[in-house]
Symmetry: C2
Subunit: 458 residues, 2 copies
């Protein structure tokens, strides 16, 4: 038998020309977003003040199975795609596992992650609509970098609200976003009402994705020609990110493989939703039955310890209500080092699939995550992002189970990005000062107690 190459690249022609919309194959759809004023399902025109028109349509499109990737975007994708599917020969050997481990590596572009897949799509639609600026939030800074790259490409001014603890942990993220002409503000800030009211309660707030979202949305709705874009959670983002899974599946078909287990890290769900899309399709249509595992930080365990409830997507409570696994929009996670996973909720699509038991979830502590990250780096020569390393931890643990049982399972995981801007976190792991934070039940109850009351629903 011919040995499978270390790195499998599609040709440019094989890059998917359509995104896949998972909702079209779900037996039961996610519950609709609700307007927070009247608790009625959101109509597409309700979204226009905040979102680009085309993206608002994608957000509510539950039925179109495949959506064409505009040709101009296909061209842009070719600048950094296809991303490689990599066989982790050395990791397998170091673990002594009979499992076959593959990872889809999305970190080989300057944003350092998969975020560019959706950033460039959102900037494209904004430009096409004639918008004159955009706002967004960023946690770890990867989304902010990706969107700055995309906006610079389309000459669209951009304001980025960056979660303050990440802003401080990663001073160089500011410079890279500035290199691409992005204006970056640590959040909570005094530039918005939402930020000011959070700072009034806690002047030392380290911020959260939910809080940064409030600020960015407020800035968008109060600025002419400006809309808000978001790097995760939303249906439209999962749609764009489906290219990860679609490419992975084609690459695996080329080597006659199919995963028994698909593993991704989960914050808002953008990478996980994209990676698993075609495999979940097989599951929903009963063509195959892979296990699908979300790995989240123990410090922000929305799937494993959250409630499946309607909640705001932001801390300032100005977004529509989405039914999702949530820790409550007022929950501020401790300052763990995977800034990209510090979100109180989870993609409504993934929440529904998890609720309906199409996927599993586990939570892991950050010292265990960094242990996996360093082990992986030494054997696979790639320095992973802390977020991505949650998936590595999950994959290593499954591979070690295979070692015990002797099963040669095929494991696919998503390596979403690189850790070059996370050396402060690596340093704290290496010098032994990194701590694990696990919220107590009381901490969680506090978050749940702020969930919105909705007449007749919750």
């Amino acid at each position: 038998m011919k040995k499978i190459p270390h790195r499998i690249y599609l040709t440019e022609d094989q890059i998917p020309k359509q995104w896949y919309n998972l909702r079209a194959d779900m037996k039961e759809l996610p519950d609709p977003m609700l307007n927070p004023q009247n608790f009625q399902p959101v109509k597409v025109e309700d979204l226009y003040p905040v979102f680009c028109t085309e993206l608002a349509k994608q957000e509510l499109d539950n039925s179109t199975r495949y959506i064409d990737i505009p040709e101009e975007l296909q061209e842009f994708y070719k600048m950094f795609r296809p991303s490689p599917l990599i066989r982790a020969y050395n990791l397998e050997k170091a673990l002594g596992t009979p499992a076959k481990i593959y990872y889809k590596f999305e970190g080989n572009n300057t944003s350092g992650s998969h975020k560019l897949n959706s950033a460039i799509a959102q900037a494209y639609y904004a430009k096409k609509q004639g918008l004159t600026s955009l706002t967004t939030e960023t946690g770890a800074g990867q989304w902010g970098t990706a969107l700055a790259e995309a906006c610079s490409y389309y000459n669209l001014p951009l304001t980025v609200y960056m979660v303050k603890c990440s802003y401080e942990q990663k001073p160089f993220r500011k410079s890279i976003i500035r290199t691409f002409d992005g204006n970056i503000i640590p959040s909570p800030s005094n530039t918005t009402n939402a930020g000011r009211s959070i700072l009034e309660i806690d002047p030392n707030s380290t911020g959260s994705l939910g809080c940064a979202i409030s600020e960015a949305v407020e800035k968008a709705v109060t600025t002419d020609g400006c809309k808000y874009v978001l790097g995760s959670v939303l249906n439209q983002v999962l749609l764009h990110q489906s290219i990860i899974g679609l490419e992975s599946k084609i690459a695996m078909e080329m080597i006659d493989e199919y995963p028994d287990i698909v593993i991704g890290c989960a914050g808002g769900g953008s990478n996980l939703g994209g990676l698993i899309a075609p495999f979940m399709q097989d599951k929903l249509t009963e063509k195959a039955n892979p296990r699908i595992i979300a790995v989240e930080p123990a410090s922000c365990p929305s799937l494993t310890r959250g409630r499946y409830a309607y909640d705001f997507c932001d801390t300032g409570k100005i977004t529509p209500l989405a039914r999702m696994y949530t820790l409550g929009s007022s929950f501020i996670p401790s300052a763990n080092h995977a800034g990209g996973l510090r979100y109180h909720g989870m993609s409504p699509i993934l929440s529904k699939l998890y609720h309906d038991e199409y996927m599993e979830a586990i939570s892991v502590e950050q010292t265990k995550v960094f242990e996996a990250a360093v082990f992986f780096a030494k054997h696979e020569t790639i320095l992973p992002a802390p977020e991505s390393s949650h998936a590595i931890r999950g994959a290593i643990d499954e591979a070690l189970k295979c070692k015990e049982t002797g099963e040669a399972k095929t494991i696919l995981f998503g390596l979403t990005g690189t850790g070059y801007f996370d050396m402060t976190a690596y340093e704290s792991y290496l010098n032994g000062s990194m701590q694990d934070y696990i919220p107590t039940d009381k901490d969680l109850e506090k978050g749940f107690s702020c969930l919105p009351k909705i007449p007749g629903i919750q």
Copy 2:
């Protein structure tokens, strides 16, 4: 005609299985290295106290045209190679040039540069010889990172002397080298005689590659089972780096292209020597006649303003003497931001080829380099390393000449690495505080006055 893809990847089977030794085709060889004690040509056994046996042999092998890449190394190469050859469609469009611009991108591995090509080879030979530790120097930190990765893979303890000004500009380089278990010391340091004597003269010395080399060599020769390895300048390094050019040439053949101009940045010459190898072969054997251009920093202009003379490879004057373009081993370049190019000399092979007019050289100021870097980043979505950006500057200038003349020349340049650890430098460019440093003739005379006197030779 079929459109040329944005990214051209070889298949794994197409990755070269032999390195190419440029010396075998040179009409006149570089002058031999001299033993500094007796000024006699160095014999291979003279090198054994400092270098691994196999690498010492490669250093002096002027005749074997192709040298097999050991199978184990071929396997390692597959973890991060082939690197893509990229057609810069967007850069061409932004410049409005009829030129066709290609770049070989070596930055998609955790070392962030081409340095891993030689680092893993050197660690492999060291391990095979049963050595128990290695030492090296690093300027920008890319070589140090690459060697730390390689040594971690082979479980070889490593001490890295890092040029002090780079160490201070790039705090996170320390952490990434530590992640791969490397021990890192800012140079000049008080851990060696060479370091102490430099600090005695100038306690505030910002260091230089030449000085860090002295420290690393001293540490190697005074430690049992330890040898010294170097990331540039040497013939063996150019040999390993030939894989860059060999891959580039195969990829260009696949799309029926051949470069009219080949451009690389030049510090010690590792990337330039590797990139141009097969094209220089064509030139030496009169099969083709591409222009070959070295781009060096105006602050450290060894080719454009140096002397072609025998000199020490290090500041402490403990290495053999090599005939090369040099600014004098006592020349300490100003603290410009391309740490990887702050070397007083130039590869003897490249020096000879330049002396014999097989290649051209230009020098550029760093603000012009960063202007090119930011322009490139915005259009090609890759944040380049400052070193690599010298080649970008050269390529942009040649493409703009084509715009004037209307010629559709084919330009190939080497994009050696990424700038994620260079954000301090980018920040200084963005905020306008970056300054250009050009040594005066008097500065250079001072360096030349320290060139060694060799009876009957110079």
